[in-house]
């Protein structure tokens, strides 16, 4: 089986790098609302990755739960407390 025929591995590695950047950013930013939004982006990229890895059901769930509801919940909390974080 030929690698580049079956899996879009270049695309894959690009997303993997972006996912890691998002993860670092979500932890490093000082503004909690931005953190929440970036963690939503992180989930969405994960969901792309999983679709591409043939896990459609998981990706569907992650798109609805991780990128959707979790982000709203995080935002809901972040807006209720002091927005600035010390680290």
């Amino acid at each position: 089986m030929n690698w580049d025929a079956s899996l879009l591995w270049q695309f894959d590695i690009l997303i993997l790098i972006m996912v890691i950047i998002c993860a670092v950013a979500a932890l490093a930013l000082k503004d909690l609302v931005s953190c929440a939004v970036i963690s939503g982006a992180y989930s969405f990229l994960m969901c792309l990755l999983w679709t591409e890895m043939l896990a459609v059901d998981v990706a569907f769930t992650e798109a609805a739960v991780g990128a959707g509801v979790s982000t709203v919940l995080l935002l809901g909390t972040a807006l209720h407390i002091r927005r600035k974080s010390k680290d």
Partner: protein
């Protein structure tokens, strides 16, 4: 704390790196995971259960016991958040949560929400009902259904949604969904089969045992969808208003 964390991470990283070298390659069709158990599901799912989506058939039937408890986890989370936030111990609380600023109502947002919510709910029902044949199922449909209410609450306010969907009803739905799942499973006991053996339902439904599996799964997915919808909404409602159920975001 930072140094301790770095130490833990370095130790764990070295351990996991050692292990990863030992794994079969990513996507290797001859890895143990791809050759041992999964072919059975792929080859027999249609014969055993009449469901072409293997994920659904494993989720709701072969490993239905897991999924039942997964629904219970969701239910439990909803009750947990409710008891934590709605539990009144005001004398211990120093701070009143700052209210997020609302700049009046936004016409465009509200109009868009009005247009979006009905198709979303319809799509959610489709996802639940068509989970046997396409990606999706109870969880995904339930989350979308819950998200449609959340969208409404975001565009208007919490009161608009809670007027249509009272907190009591939300709780009732949450419990009802899990009870549908567990009830379908427990009823099999009365029909003389093991817990969650949907085949037992063929006596009641008047179909073949295999179709009974398919119908059992549909019933279970509906139960899951109801619970997930209610709990997603309840989580949002409680977290966005800090447990007061007044304003929301």
């Amino acid at each position: 704390m930072k140094r301790l964390a770095l130490l833990i991470i370095i130790v764990l990283g070295v351990l996991l790196l050692r292990a990863a070298g030992d794994f079969p390659d990513w996507g290797d069709p001859s890895s143990p995971a791809s050759t041992y158990l999964s072919p059975y599901y792929i080859e027999n799912s249609l014969r055993d259960t009449e469901v072409p989506n293997f994920v659904t058939s494993i989720l709701a039937d072969y490993r239905g016991y897991d999924t039942m408890f997964e629904t219970v986890v969701i239910f439990c989370a909803g009750i947990t958040v409710l008891t934590i936030l709605r539990h009144t111990h005001r004398k211990r609380e120093k701070i009143i949560l700052p209210r997020p600023q609302r700049q009046g109502s936004d016409l465009i947002l509200q109009a868009a929400a009005r247009l979006l919510v009905p198709p979303m709910q319809l799509f959610a029902l489709y996802v639940v009902a068509h989970g046997h044949h396409s990606p999706g199922g109870g969880f995904q449909g339930g989350v979308i259904l819950g998200a449609s209410f959340i969208l409404l609450a975001l565009a208007y306010d919490l009161k608009t949604v809670l007027k249509r969907f009272k907190e009591k009803k939300i709780l009732l739905c949450a419990g009802l969904g899990v009870l549908i799942y567990a009830g379908i499973g427990a009823f099999c006991l009365f029909l003389g089969r093991n817990f969650l053996a949907y085949a037992a339902w063929h006596k009641v439904l008047g179909t073949s045992e295999i179709m009974a599996h398919s119908h059992g799964m549909l019933g279970v997915e509906i139960g899951v969808a109801i619970t997930v919808m209610a709990i997603m909404l309840s989580l949002y409602v409680d977290l966005a208003s800090g447990g007061d159920l007044d304003e929301g975001l």
